[in-house]
């Protein structure tokens, strides 16, 4: 029987190794797996590379991991969102490396990895500093930049509902990076508001098929 449900957030993040690349879903504070990020803090993994759109807020979740010195590098499009003091302090102290990637290129590089492709040419960032050192090619009269797949060892995801197969639905714009990160990680871990019976999700409206998901833990009021 396929059963991806785990009982606790501790079980959910078990086995994440030092040095792992962790895909952290969310846009601002929406659709972020804060419970899993807290659990990862308690689990103790360090030297992490974080892939996220932003760089954490306040002193919880991703920001807390940064404040505790667990993060070696952040790959993101926009670190300056909300109270990003944790990131800013580490950035100024040069204890953390920043790889700045355009938002669409981050999501496309993860999809590229998920899709088993070796890279793609994108017009985004051509003729800019963010293309420095990257291969370029003129295609149909337009300069393109070669972008490589971006894969995670782990993805920490937030969804609304899951069933025991790991099929997921989201709420509104909390969907954001979650589906593409679910596809792009070796180990995809999801915190959900609610776990429902297999068969109760509409087969036409499953946003992430369970085949991309490894562990599901309920953290909502219905958990």
């Amino acid at each position: 029987m396929i059963d991806k449900r785990v009982k606790t957030v501790e079980d959910a993040v078990a086995g994440v190794r030092d040095g792992a690349t962790v895909l952290v879903a969310g846009f601002g504070i929406v659709g972020v797996a804060d419970h899993l990020l807290e659990a990862l803090h308690d689990q103790g993994a360090k030297e992490l590379t974080i892939v996220a759109n932003n760089s954490g807020n306040g002193d919880y979740g991703l920001a807390r991991l940064i404040n505790s010195g667990r993060v070696r590098k952040v790959i993101c499009s926009y670190p300056r969102s909300g109270d990003y003091s944790a990131f800013l302090n580490a950035y100024k102290a040069k204890s953390l490396e920043l790889e700045l990637v355009p938002q669409g290129t981050i999501s496309e590089r993860m999809r590229c990895a998920a899709a088993g492709l070796g890279g793609f040419f994108s017009p985004v960032s051509a003729h800019t500093k963010l293309a420095d050192g990257k291969e370029t090619r003129e295609i149909d009269g337009r300069l393109h930049v070669f972008e490589k797949p971006l894969r995670g060892d782990v993805a920490l995801l937030k969804a609304n509902k899951a069933d025991r197969w790991g099929n997921l639905t989201y709420l509104k714009s909390a969907r954001n990076f979650n589906p593409v990160m679910a596809m792009a990680a070796e180990l995809s871990i999801v915190e959900v508001d609610e776990i429902v019976e297999l068969g109760s999700l509409d087969p036409e409206a499953v946003a992430t098929p369970g085949v991309f998901v490894d562990r599901v833990v309920a953290v909502g009021a219905n958990a």
Binding site: G104, R175, N176
Partner: protein, 231 residues
């Protein structure tokens, strides 16, 4: 020193002006800042679909008090709503729409624009702050038409419309129209063409606040948005 014989447009007036150029049925992304305000000023007889990079297709106005939902925000992370007919997509699809020329218009803020339409809006290279690019480069190369909304000059009075941008580029040669607090200017193969100026402004005076040469359109008009905010 006498006060100038003109009054610069407010941010809302600039946004109002840009909104008037959004045709019925178009699909538009609004950048953070002044562009976001444009959503309120689309003429009521037009249906415009606003795209938000976080996967909201059909972004609506701010929620009414008591109807806030933490699961829906705009690109600036402000609480928002979905209009009737809107839907949600994931990030890779939201940026497929941007990069794949599915957006009719992208209204963006900018630090600088060059006379050939180069756009600089992602970093001021302030060493005290980490850079952030967000979706700016995706929008700049992806939307069918890029229009910029920005103050005509820096607070110091120095021009932001330049022969060449001094700041790192977001993308070269992409800006087609510039809405400032003084004028509406098109970037054309023949150079910058002033379409509209605010009352009291002259081409000579505007030129002193603009680095590259300006050409006045034969059919130029007064730029006079209403004072009041949209209802």
């Amino acid at each position: 020193m006498t006060s100038p014989a003109y009054t610069r447009l407010s941010r809302d007036q600039m946004a109002w002006r840009a909104a008037q150029d959004l045709p019925d049925g178009c699909f538009v992304n609004l950048g953070i800042g002044i562009p976001t305000l444009a959503a309120s000023y689309v003429p009521g007889d037009r249906e415009v679909i606003f795209h938000s990079e976080n996967g909201v297709i059909g972004l609506g106005p701010k929620p009414k008090p008591g109807e806030e939902d933490p699961n829906i925000t705009d690109a600036g992370k402000n609480l928002s709503t979905l209009i009737t007919g809107g839907c949600y997509v994931h990030h890779a699809d939201a940026f497929l729409m941007i990069r794949g020329r599915h957006l009719d218009v992208s209204l963006l803020g900018a630090f600088e624009v060059s006379e050939t339409g180069d756009l600089a809006n992602w970093t001021t290279e302030d060493p005290a702050f980490p850079p952030g690019v967000g979706g700016a480069m995706d929008l700049a190369v992806g939307a069918r038409e890029i229009r910029v909304l920005m103050a005509h000059t820096h607070k110091s009075g120095s021009p932001r419309i330049l022969k060449r941008c001094s700041l790192p580029l977001t993308a070269p040669g992409v800006v087609k129209r510039i809405y400032t607090d003084l004028a509406v200017i098109d970037v054309t193969p023949k150079g910058l063409v002033v379409l509209e100026m605010i009352p009291g402004m002259t081409l000579e005076l505007l030129q002193t606040m603009t680095e590259p040469k300006l050409h006045l359109a034969d059919s130029w008009q007064a730029l006079a948005p209403p004072q009041a905010k949209a209802a």
